[in-house]
Assembly symmetry: C3
Homo-oligomer: 313 residues x 3
Amino acid sequence: MKNFLSVHDATTIPDLVNRARHYKASRNENRELADGKTLINLFFNPSLRTRLSTERAGYELGFQVITMDAGGGWKLEFEDGAVMNLDSAEHVKEAAGVLSQYCDVLAVRSFPGLEDRTADYEDRIINAFVKYATVPVVSLESAIRHPLQSLADCVTIAEHRQTDRPKVVLTWAPHPRKLPQAVANSFAEWMVKWDEVDLTIANPEGFDLATEFTAGARVLHNQEEAMRGADFVYAKNWSSYTDYGATAQLPDWTVSEQKMALTNDAFFMHCLPVRRNVVVTDGVLDSDRSLVLRQADNRTWAAAAVLAGLLGG
Amino acid sequence: MKNFLSVHDATTIPDLVNRARHYKASRNENRELADGKTLINLFFNPSLRTRLSTERAGYELGFQVITMDAGGGWKLEFEDGAVMNLDSAEHVKEAAGVLSQYCDVLAVRSFPGLEDRTADYEDRIINAFVKYATVPVVSLESAIRHPLQSLADCVTIAEHRQTDRPKVVLTWAPHPRKLPQAVANSFAEWMVKWDEVDLTIANPEGFDLATEFTAGARVLHNQEEAMRGADFVYAKNWSSYTDYGATAQLPDWTVSEQKMALTNDAFFMHCLPVRRNVVVTDGVLDSDRSLVLRQADNRTWAAAAVLAGLLGG
Amino acid sequence: MKNFLSVHDATTIPDLVNRARHYKASRNENRELADGKTLINLFFNPSLRTRLSTERAGYELGFQVITMDAGGGWKLEFEDGAVMNLDSAEHVKEAAGVLSQYCDVLAVRSFPGLEDRTADYEDRIINAFVKYATVPVVSLESAIRHPLQSLADCVTIAEHRQTDRPKVVLTWAPHPRKLPQAVANSFAEWMVKWDEVDLTIANPEGFDLATEFTAGARVLHNQEEAMRGADFVYAKNWSSYTDYGATAQLPDWTVSEQKMALTNDAFFMHCLPVRRNVVVTDGVLDSDRSLVLRQADNRTWAAAAVLAGLLGG
C-alpha cells in the first residue's frame, strides 16, 4: 500500500482483516517493526477514539508517535498560485513537505464543512497532503470517508459472523446534529467490495448516499423491511447528500429492541460516540449483542494492520 | 490496590511511602515493570504538576503514556436512561468502556463546580469512570480529593521529620480566587489516618472542612495558637464548605516569618501553585525550611508507587 | 554548553554544525545518549516546525519527550516581591523550579508583544527560566532570538556552499502581519560570528535591525544592489525595530525570479511558514535552488546537536 485513503488502497479486505487479527493476537510482540520510525497524527478536527487507537497502534509497532492538533491557529492555503496576503499562513505544499521531513507515516484527520457538496466531495485536505507529502498518508477520517473505522468494522464482523455470508444492514438513525456522511459512505464502500457479506442500506427518502459508495447494495426506505433477517445491524446518522447537509428528526428510525426482534438475533454495531435513546435505545446498546466496544478495540488493530502495510510489513 | 481514589485505597500509608522512596532511589531501574502497558491521563481540567509528574512516573515504570485534554469539546452524559438529544455527545458508559480498551491504567482529573455542594461531593466524574472502566482508575484530583498530592506530602514529611510523631499544622491561608477543598480534604484525611503524625487544622470560623475528612484532628480557629510548636506548617486556601463556595479576604492569615517563629523551626509546605505574599510571604517561601519543591518532586514518586501498586508490582 | 540561548552559547559554530551533520548521518544510532532522560518543551506560543523537530531530535537521542502548551491559562508572575493577588497564579521561581524537577533539559518558546521594545528586548521569559531553572535551558525562539533556526541555517549553508566564503544576503520581504525580529536578529548574529560566510543585509529605510545583532555586517537599503553576486538569499519579514512594531507594505521587496537573476545562481532560504507571492514568488520557491525544506529538515539535527551538547555528549 502506498497510502490508505479508502478501500481502493487495501491490498485486499481479507488480507487486511487477517493482519489486524494477527496484531491483536500478538500484542507487544511487534515493536521491532517500526523501531526508529515516527508517526505523525495531524488533527484538523478533534478526535478521541481515532487519536487513542492510532497512537496505541503506533506504539504497538514501535513507532515514536507525535500527535498535533492543527485545528486552532494553523490556516493552510490550498490554491495554486495564491497571493497569500490574507489569513492563510502556510501553503499545503510547504506544510506537507515539512511534515514529511519529520515522520515516516503521516496520518491526517479532517471534516467536511457540510455547506458546499462539491468542495467537500473533492476531499481537498487529505488529497492535498497526498499530493505534496513524500511519505505515506493515512486517512484518520476525511470529509467523505473513514476507512480505518470501516476496516475495524470488517474485523468485528469477521470475528462474530456465524454464517458464510451474513446479512449486514446499515441503517440511518436520528441525531440532533448535522453529521457528515463519511462513516456511512465508507462502510457501504467496504461492505460492497467485501464479497463475504451481503449489504442492505435502510434510510429515509432524501437520505440516499452517493451512488459511488453504494452501487451494488440494496437500498430500502423501510427500516423494518430492511432489518428482517439481519445478522448485523449497523446504525449511523448522516445528513442528506441530495439536499446537502439537511437533517430530519425521525424518531421512528431509532433502533429499538422491537426492531432488533425482527432480525436473525443480529449483533448491533455503531462507530461511537452514540446518542443513547436517540440513535438506539439503552436496551439494545446494553445487551450482549452489542459490539460497539469490540469495534472500538478493533480500531487499534485495524490501524496496526494499515501502518504495518504502509511500511511494507 | 484496585483503584486509587483516596487514602482508603492505600494498602497502608507506610507501605506506599516506602514504595515511593524506593522508586525515587532507583530512578531508571524500573522500566521493565510496565513495559508494553499504556497509561492514559484524561484531564477534564488543566494541570501542570499533576500532568508532568504522572507522565514522568509512567515513563519511569516503562508505560507508554497518552495524555488527553478532554476539557474542551467532549461533553459527557452521566444520567442513566438519558435521552441524549441535547449537548452531551457521549455517555460515560461508552467513554469509560472505550478508554479501557486503549490502556492498562486510566488516570482522571476533574474539578468541582463549587456551586452545588451535593453534586460536587458525589464526586460524579471520577466515580462514573470507576463504575464503567474495566481497568484500574487513578484520581489525578477529583472534585473533593487529591490523593496523589497527599501521598507526595507524606513522602516529604517522612523524609524530613526529626521526631517520632511530628506536629503537623494544616492552615487555611488567603487567596483571591474561589478554590476547591480537595487538597485540604485529602491532606486531612491522610494525616488523620497516618499514625506517625499529629494533625492540627487552623482555619477561620466558617471554613471548617467536612468532618468526614477531619474527624480525629484538632480544629482551631486561631492560627497562632495552632502553629505554636509545629514541626510542619502546610498552608492552603479553600473556599467554604458550610457556606458552600464562599471566600474571605483575611490578610491576617497569610503565613509569615513572624508566625513561623512560633513554631518548632517548622518546615513550610504548599502543594503549588502558590500566590506569593498572599498565601505566604517571600521570606518563608525562599527560606531553607521551605519544602515546596521537594513536594513537587515527590509527586513523581508518589505516582510511581501508585501506578506500580495498581499493576500488582 | 550550559544553556542554549544565542550564538554566544555555542561551543563554536563549526563544532555545532559538524555535530548536527553527524547526527543527521547516523540516524537511529544515538538513542543511548539520553536514555532515561526527559526533555520538556514548554510553549508559551504555538509552534509547528519547532515543536516537531525538537521532539524528533529528542527521540533521536533517546529522551522521553513531554510537550506542554502553556499559552492558555498559565499566567506567570515575573516581578520579585510581587503581591500575587491578581491574575498571575504562579511565580516563575516556582514554575522553573518545579519543571526542573521533572526533566533533564527544559526548552522554552516565547514571543515578544511587539508593543514595548524595552520589555521585549529584556527577553524576560527565557531569562527568568534560565535564572530559576536548575537544568539546562534551550531557547525554542524567544522574544528576540531564534538560535536553533540559525544553527539549522548554518548547517544548510554548510551543506550547499560551493565557495570558501559565500556571499549571504539576508533580505527583508513584505508580509501582511506584524512579525518579530527574532529570526532576523539571530540569523544576523550567527552569520556575523561565523567567519566562513560574508553577510549583507538588505532592508528598507526604517527597518534596520538592532546593531547588537548586525555589527560587522554590510547593511544596504537597496535590495537589488545587495543581491548582486549573492550565493545564498535568505528572505524574511520583520517589523521595525526603530519605529517599534511598525510594518510597511512594500511589494517591490518581494523576492522574484528577476531579482534572483542578479545573483550568482543563489540558493533561496526561508525559515517557513512563508507567504507565497508576498514574501517570495512561486517561481523562486518551487525552483530547484530553494532550500526551504532542507532548512526544515536540519532543524531536527540542529536540535539534536544542541541537546547532546547540553548533556555533555
